[in-house]
Symmetry: C2
Subunit: 202 residues, 2 copies
């Protein structure tokens, strides 16, 4: 992980970025205090988080808005183009293929993989649905570094193992199961039902 940033800080960087992009270019400078107030956070925390990036705040005036946005984008790799694939072209996978927001982070969802003959060969939102049984060649050809698992829970572990065999070490997992992977593989879980339950328990 870059410069040992804690995951909790890393998770807040896109929030700062979204906020800063939303305040418009008429503002030349923005202070950590203003960011903290707008986002209901502590100012010390904001300053600490932003210190992981290359942004340099100036006493009294704060950060140059454009520089801070650039620093966050650089940190989050928004300017490094990287290809991702989606495994499972069902409802969720199809919805994600059609979602345009990935390009803000330099991510291009280049294809989906599925094992359903009725889906293989089709296009969803301009992206091809490829045969999951040929994933290994496809992933190599497409120079893919990231994958999103959108298959049913019972298939997720098998897909994860296939992805790792394809050389993919970063997996966003929507299936409601804990994936067992080697230590050098990073999985981020996006179990929607669990998140709604967590929210309900908060």
């Amino acid at each position: 992980m870059k410069s040992n940033i804690p995951v909790t800080s890393l998770q807040r960087l896109p929030i700062y970025l979204n906020y800063l992009k939303s305040i418009g270019s008429q503002e030349g400078f923005v202070s950590s205090g203003a960011i903290a107030r707008a986002l209901n956070m502590g100012e010390v925390l904001v300053r600490k988080d932003l210190a992981y990036t290359s942004a340099q705040g100036k006493t009294r005036v704060g950060y140059s808005l454009t520089e801070l946005i650039s620093a966050l984008e650089e940190y989050l790799g928004c300017n490094d183009k990287k290809n991702a694939v989606i495994f499972g072209a069902g409802g969720l996978g199809s919805a994600l293929l059609a979602y345009g927001g990935f390009s803000n982070y330099g991510i291009d969802i280049v294809a989906a993989f599925d094992n359903d003959p009725a889906k293989i060969g089709a296009e969803i939102a301009g992206r091809p649905v490829l045969d999951a049984s040929h994933a290994r060649e496809g992933v190599k050809q497409l120079d893919v570094k990231l994958a999103v698992i959108c298959v049913p829970a019972k298939h997720a572990q098998g897909v994860a193992e296939e992805l790792v065999a394809c050389g993919i070490k970063k997996i966003l997992n929507f299936a409601p199961v804990l994936l067992r992977v080697a230590q050098d593989v990073t999985v981020r879980n996006m179990d929607v039902a669990a998140n709604l339950a967590i929210l309900s328990s908060m």
Copy 2:
């Protein structure tokens, strides 16, 4: 929040629950050490997390598997039926309507709301798509406590304000914007692109 559990601990409870359900009923007892090893976590952390629930571990044997599952389910409110709605019956909203996993947590997605006349009145996965302009009455009638925002970013703040006006205080937000809400409203962000960028930066 229940008994002041830290969000980071709360977030791990569904992971324990999924794991414990997966190991099958032939096991009578499970130790915190075995859970920790299976999930690549520290044993002290596991014990601390589980101590927020009513589960009682026994020296040497560990937790009764069925009791621990029950304690986690109780803590996460899996046995308390609660109704949720989805705002935005586009690709993502439709995919979530069709997803069966919510019932594991006692959550019933009872309807979607949309403002598209072509969608209003339709059914998706057996759930009605209702007119978003009548959300207030709908939410009251359906006794809804949770909402999922699946509308485009530019509409999300307006929808959030409408939801709060409907009395909903817990919002799962898939739109890539930070929602500004009153302090008694809890929002959990599920920005998929940001999560993929975070994963890529890890």
